[in-house]
């Protein structure tokens, strides 16, 4: 493409691009991607934070692999951290200490790795909430939602396997809990635990095995899945909020070259730099304080990494005595039930897009992000799910809450048990009401303008507040959204209404019974004549 010009004006870049293009036809990729448009909104950056913290994880993780040795062979500590001198420990723990105390920048890289991992999972969670509350999971993005869900699960798995590697008291204790949970699984649990640990707990196999998963298998899967995620974003193009000039049929924003690339590239450095700053100032996971793993000691008030909290909390909320012995076999409900609840909850999250599409029956493509208020039922469901998760998560700190607020830990658990059931229900109703109220307010604003805060006295003597009318752009932003009505339960060819149709009708009523429609032109006209 540049051959003729390149021949005359032989700058180095044009020569180089020409050289490359003649061997790769890369100009095709540049012309396809170079001016792709990305819409701008702060909430669209959450996925980017996840991506960039993952890169920080990869960079710091590779550094750690050069020094870390996952062996569980027993050795005596001879390193330079005085309090542990002469103590027996595994090679894994020893090398993790060496990274911290013998290698310049080693502690920094460990801390970067750990802080980045915490940020990674957190940003994935927030990103997922953004996608949920704006309805960005609707057709054609359902598959990408499921892929994103996989990334979330993979990230937690990466975090847990990583947390277990240094073989300190906390990480070993986390593995003890996993061992106990696995053993509680009916029929196969005992054997799975046996295979996992290569015999008895803790054995000498588990850390090398987790290491293979942590640095090879899981990252490889994660990178592939992440790649698909990003490709689908390009294929589907990003959603945007509705507004003047921003429709379901276009995407408005800045082009990749140069503005988006500069912003996103700069943002990578900001995220990495912030992680680095935190890692240089704040200690995380000071494994030297915990000591090497030993099945005997454990200290109160220790916490798993934040994203494992919900699982730990789910275990804590089980009331005593949940176990039965039938036919000489042990059913450990205290473990089975929380696992079912957690897996069930995660499955609901994974399949929500399909459920909602079944209820609306809407098969069109949706490229406009909903404002959360404009889909009150979905928003309320999401808020209820957040509370459900949050209660489980809070339960993982029940002992800390008890000591902090000087209350009995038993009572904390009772309160949380109640909150787990009633919290989501109450949240659902409150959120739905709030969303509807906000929609009403939007209508008011469209019909009567903004409250200006200016009070004037009418000739008749009464006082009124002046309302500033909206300009057409602002108005359009407030009236552009989609509404649904409950489906009618139509009988099939035999004149019967099948159970599926009835359920769907009921769900549809539940979803769309309370709804507020956008202001129409005639409504606005009518309201003007009122004055």
């Amino acid at each position: 493409m540049t051959t003729t010009r390149a021949a005359r004006k032989t700058s180095f870049t044009s020569k180089a691009s020409n050289y490359l293009d003649e061997r790769t036809s890369i100009s095709g990729a540049v012309s396809f991607l170079g001016r792709k448009i990305f819409p701008d909104h702060w909430s669209f950056m959450l996925g980017e934070v996840a991506l960039y913290s993952f890169i920080a994880i990869l960079i710091s993780g590779v550094f750690l692999t050069f020094f870390f040795d996952p062996s569980m062979t027993h050795v005596t500590y001879e390193g330079s951290y005085v309090p542990l001198k002469g103590i027996g420990m595994s090679v894994a723990y020893h090398t993790a200490l060496d990274i911290s105390f013998e290698i310049r920048g080693g502690l920094l890289m460990r801390q970067v790795h750990h802080w980045a991992a915490l940020l990674f999972v957190a940003s994935i969670g927030l990103h997922m909430l953004r996608v949920f509350f704006t309805g960005a999971f609707r057709k054609p993005r359902e598959i990408n939602w499921v892929i994103g869900f996989l990334l979330f699960v993979l990230a937690m798995a990466e975090g847990f396997t990583g947390y277990s590697l240094p073989d300190d008291v906390l990480s070993g204790n986390g593995l003890a809990i996993i061992n106990g949970m696995v053993k509680g699984i009916p029929i196969v649990g005992t054997w799975i635990s046996y295979f996992l640990f290569g015999g008895l707990f803790p054995g000498t196999e588990i850390i090398p095995r987790l290491y293979s998963l942590h640095i090879m298998l899981l990252p490889a899967i994660l990178i592939v899945v992440l790649g698909i995620h990003l490709v689908l974003i390009v294929v589907n193009k990003h959603t945007q909020f509705a507004g003047p000039g921003k429709t379901n049929k276009n995407v408005v924003g800045s082009p990749i070259m140069p503005t988006f690339a500069a912003k996103a590239g700069g943002f990578f450095f900001l995220v990495f730099g912030t992680i680095m700053l935190i890692a240089s100032i704040f200690t995380i996971n000071p494994i030297w304080n915990y000591g090497p793993y030993d099945p005997s000691p454990v200290s109160a008030g220790t916490q798993p990494d934040w994203y494992i909290g919900f699982a730990d909390g789910a275990l804590r909320l089980v009331p005593p005595g949940w176990e039965t012995e039938w036919f000489g076999l042990t059913f450990t409900w205290a473990i089975i039930i929380p696992i079912i609840v957690m897996v069930g909850f995660l499955m609901l999250v994974a399949f929500y897009p399909f459920i909602e599409q079944w209820i609306t029956g809407d098969k069109r493509e949706h490229h406009l992000s909903d404002r959360p208020r404009n889909n009150p039922t979905r928003t309320a469901i999401g808020a209820a799910g957040v509370v459900f998760y949050a209660v489980m998560w809070a339960a993982a700190s029940s002992d800390l809450m008890a000591t902090h607020f000087h209350v009995n830990v038993f009572h904390v658990i009772y309160v949380l048990q109640a909150a787990l059931i009633f919290g989501p229900i109450i949240t659902y109703f409150i959120t739905k009401r709030v969303a509807l109220a906000l929609q009403k307010k939007d209508r008011e604003i469209v019909l009567h303008g903004y409250e200006s805060g200016r009070i004037v006295r009418r000739p008749g003597g009464e006082y009124i507040e002046v309302h500033e009318p909206l300009d057409e752009y602002e108005r359009y932003r407030l009236v552009t959204f989609e509404t649904y009505e409950p489906t009618k339960e139509r009988p099939n060819a035999q004149g019967r209404i099948s159970a599926g149709v009835k359920i769907r009708g009921a769900l549809s009523r539940w979803f769309f019974e309370d709804r507020i429609t956008p202001v129409t032109q005639s409504e606005l006209e009518a309201s003007k004549h009122d004055h």
């Binding site: 920048g105 053993k183 635990s193 800045s254 912003k263 005997s296 200290s299 009505e485």
Partner: protein, 369 residues
């Protein structure tokens, strides 16, 4: 919605609108799209001086970044880690880290500032098209599959097709069996159902291994205990320890409630219980002397040591297994035998390994009030 507006307005887009819209309401009288608002120029677009200033700021950020990276290299050498000096680790971490942070953040702030102040901020609109391929590519794809089928005979030659499916289904199966040797040959349930405690094994202090004389256990005291025979150099030391750790407590005999069956299991008010929680297996390490409660720090299961270690709170379902103890000729505490039931978390086959002579193990003594 605009989408519908456009569809109503432009007939060629009707194809898209034939897609089922489900229960979505068609708004007949909605507002029409006024189009993108006019672009508002930035200060840097209007005033060359402001533009120059922004340029200088970007330059300064990049300069700062360079300074940070150079400082990081300097700090790496100038503030090394010195042997046995924790302070030097901290200084190295802090200064190296600050240098690197500045190196990164400088680039970040500079690039973002450049993009926001100096690059065009005119919003550009790009058209979307339905995600599915065009009618042509779809027809071509179908045709390709048809050709593939015809040329290979995949549908026609059902015998070889089905045998291929069979072969593909079977070939990964050996891989499943190859994982058998993830664990030793021994039966899993056998392996986890015994502990190193044997008749006559002395109770020793964890971690020193010093045997405990009954006379040294004062009322109200609690000991963390391991079997004296535990060899801290053995390759399976931690496994054996994880099975055998015990908590030993002495309380006034009148406060100890024992069942008939277990009357002979204690000595002078001294009782010994497995320290591995029956919930999911954390060490139950916190003993509250005045309530005789043993608290598991992991999920707050609470056991009453004065009453057969039954569960008084928390998710654990069974009491902690009790280790029957006695005193040997020299006055040392010894185990009468191994536990009469598997220690630790419940598992599917647990009941297979309850000693027949002591059916009244925790599975049954538990009284659920």
């Amino acid at each position: 919605m605009t989408a519908q507006h456009d569809a109503d307005a432009t007939p060629q887009e009707h194809a898209v609108e034939t897609v089922d819209r489900g229960s979505a309401v068609t708004q007949s009288d909605s507002f029409s799209d006024p189009g993108l608002p006019p672009h508002k120029p930035r200060q840097t677009d209007i005033h060359p001086a402001k533009e120059k200033r922004a340029e200088r700021q970007v330059f300064l950020w990049f300069l700062l970044s360079m300074a940070g990276s150079v400082f990081a290299i300097f700090a790496y050498f100038a503030f090394p880690i010195t042997e046995e000096d924790f302070g030097s680790v901290r200084i190295n971490n802090l200064l190296l880290g600050l240098g690197l942070s500045l190196g990164l953040l400088g680039i970040g702030f500079g690039a973002v500032h450049w993009a926001r102040q100096l690059m065009s901020d005119v919003e550009i609109s790009e058209d979307r098209h339905p995600t599915h391929g065009s009618e042509q590519t779809r027809a071509r794809a179908v045709e390709i599959f048809k050709l593939g089928d015809e040329e290979s005979g995949f549908t026609r030659r059902s015998l070889i097709r089905n045998s291929l499916i069979g072969a593909l289904a079977l070939f990964p199966l050996p891989a499943v069996f190859m994982f058998r040797d993830l664990a030793p040959k021994q039966d899993a349930v056998e392996a986890i159902s015994q502990t190193p405690w044997e008749t006559g094994t002395r109770l020793a202090i964890d971690p020193t291994g010093t045997p405990i004389k009954a006379s040294d256990v004062t009322i109200g005291s609690a000991f963390h205990v391991i079997p004296e025979t535990l060899d801290s150099h053995a390759h399976d030391f931690l496994d054996q320890k994880a099975l055998s750790v015990v908590l030993l407590v002495r309380m006034p005999e009148e406060q100890l409630h024992e069942t008939e069956e277990r009357k002979g299991w204690s000595y002078n008010g001294i009782v010994a219980y497995s320290k591995i929680c029956t919930h999911v297996g954390c060490p139950v390490a916190l003993y509250e002397q005045h309530t005789h409660h043993l608290l598991c720090p992991c999920h707050q299961s609470t056991f009453d040591v004065s009453d057969g270690a039954k569960v008084v709170f928390g998710p654990a379902a069974r009491p902690l297994p009790q280790l029957p103890i006695a005193v040997d000729d020299e006055g040392y505490l010894v185990a009468q035998r191994d536990f009469t039931e598997p220690i630790g978390p419940s598992f599917w086959e647990r009941l297979d390994h309850i000693d027949d002579e002591h059916p009244e193990s925790s599975a049954r003594t538990e009284d659920r009030a």
